[in-house]
């Protein structure tokens, strides 16, 4: 039974000490910058939502180490099958903030053509699979992508992210089982932020840890301090390397905390103890990494502050740029249902285009969840 956390920077609870990964100072700072940019993007997203400029947002506050440490362990040719709470992994892959905010504004610049709610990204050129809302489905996709990689024999790996809530989904079971049976080059990362909207993970499952669930699929499971970017990087690197060597999948539990609300529609004070929020505020993964960087002589406070300021500026600029873009064209509604528009859809399109603009229905502005 796995209850201890693997850590580099040290945990407050029982911990298993890992050696710091052999990275250059430069590389440590790249990790740091990515975490800060993730935080700043989320802050911007929440602000845009609070100002009524976008309809909805899902922040990943507190999960920056889990996102960046893991994404950094992949090659660019590896695939990511994400859930909605890893914006940092897209940034890490080189997606520009404006591309992400175009999605949040649902404008014509959005790769998904404004068809999905905010934060449901798709970045084909970065091997970053389209995000859906249904919990858990991406896990089975990841197993399938990895099965295909194995069939093709091209040496790539697919990494998928899921929440603690998602461990209860059908596709968690089926994805891990298929991944195990077909020994697919897949890494399953559960970011256990301890909440699925209002449900604490203790009500989600009675297993001692999420990592323990790996036993059911005959694969290794590790429980890692998810707020320790270096531990996350090390553990993920091991899993990715093993998958690439043909040893099959690993389940990694990154133990963390959702520092913000579930989404811009959520109010955690209804269900989450204030004390817990305070306890975890003290474990903020960015602050923790910054202390480590300074303690290890990799940076000083001023340099780190400059990173924050630059990221802040970057996100602000991106938002300005996105906001000016127009909505997608009305008849884009009928594209991409199929590769080609069949007669029936063409008829519906013709009817729509024949209507006056006054036909648009009145809508509520805000998403209530």
């Amino acid at each position: 039974m796995t209850t201890t956390l693997e850590t580099v920077m040290g945990t407050s609870g029982p911990g298993l000490e890992l050696a710091a990964p052999r990275l250059t100072r430069e590389q440590f700072l790249v990790l740091h910058r990515a975490m800060v940019r993730t935080r700043k993007l989320d802050e911007r997203g929440m602000k845009l939502q609070r100002q009524g400029r976008i309809g909805f947002y899902v922040p990943s506050f507190g999960e920056e180490a889990a996102q960046i440490g893991s994404a950094a362990a992949l090659d660019a040719a590896d695939w990511i099958s994400p859930s909605y709470r890893q914006p940092g992994t897209a940034l890490w892959r080189g997606v520009k903030p404006v591309e992400m905010l175009d999605n949040c504004f649902g404008n014509a610049g959005d790769a998904a053509k404004g068809r999905q709610m905010p934060v449901h990204y798709t970045f084909r050129s970065r091997n970053f699979i389209s995000i859906g809302s249904p919990i858990g489905t991406q896990i089975a996709h990841a197993a399938g992508v990895a099965m295909a990689m194995k069939i093709r024999g091209d040496g790539h790996v697919c990494l998928t992210y899921l929440g603690d809530g998602a461990t209860s989904s059908n596709d968690f079971h089926t994805g891990l089982n298929f991944g195990g049976v077909f020994k697919a080059p897949c890494v399953f990362i559960c970011i256990n932020n301890q909440y699925a909207i209002s449900l604490c993970v203790t009500g989600q499952t009675t297993s001692v840890s999420i990592a323990d669930k790996a036993v059911a699929y005959g694969m290794p499971g590790r429980r890692v301090d998810g707020n320790d970017v270096l531990a996350v990087y090390s553990a993920t690197k091991d899993a990715v390397d093993a998958a690439r060597r043909g040893e099959g999948p690993t389940l990694l539990e990154l133990f963390s905390f959702r520092m913000g609300p579930h989404s811009s529609s959520d109010d955690p004070s209804r269900y989450r103890p204030k004390a817990m929020e305070e306890e975890w505020a003290a474990k903020d993964p960015i602050q923790r990494f910054e202390k480590w960087l300074i303690a290890n002589g990799h940076a000083d406070a001023a340099a780190l502050a400059a990173v924050h300021a630059a990221a802040e500026e970057e996100m602000s600029e991106a938002a300005k740029e996105s906001e000016t873009k127009p909505a997608p064209a009305k008849d884009s509604l009928f594209d991409d249902v199929f590769a080609e528009r069949p007669a029936g859809l063409l008829k519906q399109r013709t009817a729509l285009l024949a209507e006056g603009d006054a036909h648009a229905a009145d809508m509520n502005a805000a998403f209530p969840l």
């Binding site: 249904p134 059908n170 699925a196 909505a327 997608p328 859809l345 036909h359 509520n364 969840l369």
Partner: protein, 331 residues
């Protein structure tokens, strides 16, 4: 909320919440389960106050698995409880589809009546809240096509309360769709009588008229009524039928109206192909074609996934309904 003359004016959401409170008080066999329905009171707050009043054993915050919510509800119902399961958005009912279609719907039949599973599955449906693909769909037709399920879809606070109470007291499984876009915007007078119920299987003439019949359900009833009011200003007298229950269907109510008006429009938010609007059309084309003076016109969602930015373009508003009325009148 203020009690006057045996009714209280309230929102549709409040009416649902009240029905749950009353039925849980009435019978301790009634239990509620679903994601975030307990401590959080539901993401829409429909189950607000139940957890505090009835406790964790009767108001269960479940793990994130719709198949488990329905699968265990089926077991509880077979054992004799009356589970009221919430599926947070009807878009997320599909992981439970096997339990609903293969088990819940068929249990009475396949066991020769020995086992029944009268689960009530409450689930918010429909667009209009800027929820995109996965928080906007209208999946009622899937369930109407599944023998053994009752399918209920109220449009007013009174019906919401009365139908939910009937569903909870009933002997059969019910998929109870809640028109979430009008949860808080539609208010109405709701009888205070804790034994007030609305029978499942009876439609309602929401507005009497003689020129054209509009058949609709859920939030589209209000869109249809709005269209009817506009048409009235041009001297066109529309009858609006609010189905309230899709299965079992009140065919007579529809056919009576169609026989009177000879012209019919069916208005639904759902995807067009194989939607429930098509069923209504087919019934009329089979039973009353001789009374028709025009084509049967469906106003529906498009055969595309539900969009985000263009939601207002996708959803049929009163103007689109009026175009259809125009079309059946012009014929």
């Amino acid at each position: 909320m203020s009690a006057t003359n045996g009714t209280t004016n309230m929102t549709l959401l409040q009416a649902l919440n009240l029905a749950l409170h009353e039925e849980m008080e009435r019978s301790k066999d009634v239990v509620v389960l679903g994601e975030d329905v307990g401590r959080n009171g539901g993401v829409f707050r429909t189950t607000d106050g139940l957890f505090a009043k009835f406790g964790a054993e009767r108001v269960m915050d479940t793990p994130l698995a719709e198949s488990g919510i329905i699968g265990t509800a089926v077991g509880m119902a077979m054992y004799g409880l009356k589970p009221v399961a919430e599926i947070q958005f009807s878009d997320f009912i599909f992981p439970a589809f096997d339990q609903i279609v293969s088990e819940m719907a068929k249990m009475r039949y396949r066991s020769g009546g020995e086992f029944t599973c009268p689960v009530v599955v409450r689930t918010p449906a429909g667009g209009g809240i800027r929820g995109g693909h996965y928080h906007s769909q209208s999946p009622e037709a899937y369930f109407c096509h599944t023998p053994g399920l009752q399918v209920v879809y109220p449009a007013t606070p009174e019906d919401a309360k009365g139908l939910l109470k009937s569903a909870i007291r009933g002997a059969d499984p019910v998929i109870f769709f809640e028109p979430k876009r009008i949860y808080r915007t539609v208010k109405g007078d709701v009888p205070n009588d804790p034994d007030f119920t609305v029978p499942i299987g009876k439609a309602r003439v929401a507005r009497a008229g003689k020129d054209v019949t509009i058949v609709s359900w859920g939030a589209m009833v209000h869109t249809s009524l709005e269209a009817a009011e506009k048409a009235a200003r041009n001297g066109v007298d529309i009858e609006v039928i609010d189905l309230r229950t899709l299965v079992p269907l009140d065919e007579e109510c529809i056919l009576t109206s169609v026989r009177k008006t000879g012209r019919v429009v069916i208005a639904s938010e759902a995807t067009r192909t194989c939607g429930f609007a098509s069923e209504i059309s087919a019934i009329i084309a089979e039973e009353a074609i001789d009374c028709l003076e025009a084509p049967i016109v469906r106003v529906t969602g498009y055969d595309t996934p539900f969009p985000y930015t263009l939601e207002h373009v996708y959803m049929p508003g009163p103007a689109r309904v009026l175009d259809a009325v125009q079309r059946v009148r012009a014929f």
